[in-house]
Symmetry: C2
Subunit: 213 residues, 2 copies
Amino acid sequence: MPKETFLRLPEQKQETVMRAAIGEFMRCGFEKANVGTIAKNAEIAKGSIYQYFENKEELFRYALEWAVRFFATEYGQQYSRSVTDLFEFFRESAEPMMRQIQTEYELAVFVQEVFLGHYNNVARDLTEVMLRSVDGIMLGMIRQGKENGSIRCDISDELLVKFMEGASMRLKEDILRRAKEEGNSAFQNGFAEYETEMNALIELLKNGMGAKE
Amino acid sequence: MPKETFLRLPEQKQETVMRAAIGEFMRCGFEKANVGTIAKNAEIAKGSIYQYFENKEELFRYALEWAVRFFATEYGQQYSRSVTDLFEFFRESAEPMMRQIQTEYELAVFVQEVFLGHYNNVARDLTEVMLRSVDGIMLGMIRQGKENGSIRCDISDELLVKFMEGASMRLKEDILRRAKEEGNSAFQNGFAEYETEMNALIELLKNGMGAKE
DNA sequence: GTATAATGTGACCAACAAGTCATATGACTG
DNA sequence: CAGTCATATGACTTGTTGGTCACATTATAC
């Protein structure tokens, strides 16, 4: 948790600091990230950083927390209506994700990278928490799907979660990489292309890759 | 590439150095890994490390190369017989993998972690190369599967690769985590448990998770 | 057995950057 | 306006560690 001083700052300034920190962590990784540079980019003195946070690690942790909360408040409502069908949920969550990447590229990639287990040295426990939370949401949907007969019952919930998450994560990674390569021009013609891919992926999750005789 | 001096060393000694390096990188990550400690654990002088390698990064890179080659020569023949069926290949490659984890835990995890994109700062390009190589192998099998009618043709090869890799990677991660938690006692009763899971995963890849009406 | 080359060694150096602190600023109080 | 408190600042301290190098040791050649 940051010190009181930071929390008393106007939100605008908090945001500037957070974005400066996230930018530096993204470019350099945790160890090589330079607190001085973060301060410079946020247009404050290095000493101020230590007025706000106990140390570099706390800064990192709070930056992640901040980014997650940012998305939750900014895009949260889009998920809130209760979609009960797992596949439908999947399809529907794709567009906001791409929109996030488009408008908040750095934040989105930062969160995703921590989630994927980079920054393991600093944030092993944070990753753990995030993973468990996603697992929980999916697990609920899978159970529901089994009940209403849309998901097969002969395979354990846990494996189904892994299966689903693995496949979707790989696609996410791909989208991120592409966004990284193409920069701002990615997705400017909308998401039609990825919609096709997403539909195909859902098809695969539903019906698998084996040919039907 | 290491300096000639290193390559002239008796293999036993090379191995000691490599294992010391990998151990330290695993425990501390790249930046925090201490060259002095590596030297101490390998029972050589710090100066010798620099007689062998240009710098810390080269040491890291070669350690990875060494580990990959170690597995290739140690377990390579098991993959060599040409399995043509993708799913069969999948099933067959599982056991050697688990055996590797059991006997060469640290090396296996090291390679896997680089592969998963940790150590991104140092090894972005290495990760790229490894990924592409695995993609290539899978791609070949998928094409073959499409030809011989075991894999559906209406979905692009690339997506099928992602799908397959994603799902399997998640399972691997899980196995690794479990091995980490249980230490040496994991798998001591054989792999029966995971065999069941693996079969279920293959089922999923083939037929998906949707209930058949 | 001596000369020469190759390798081993660890004290040392230089760079860097996290974190500190004495001081400056300025807002608020009465 | 004096006094107090919260905050801002950046020069400085301090510890760390990658990398070097002068010297020691061992192997090789002749």
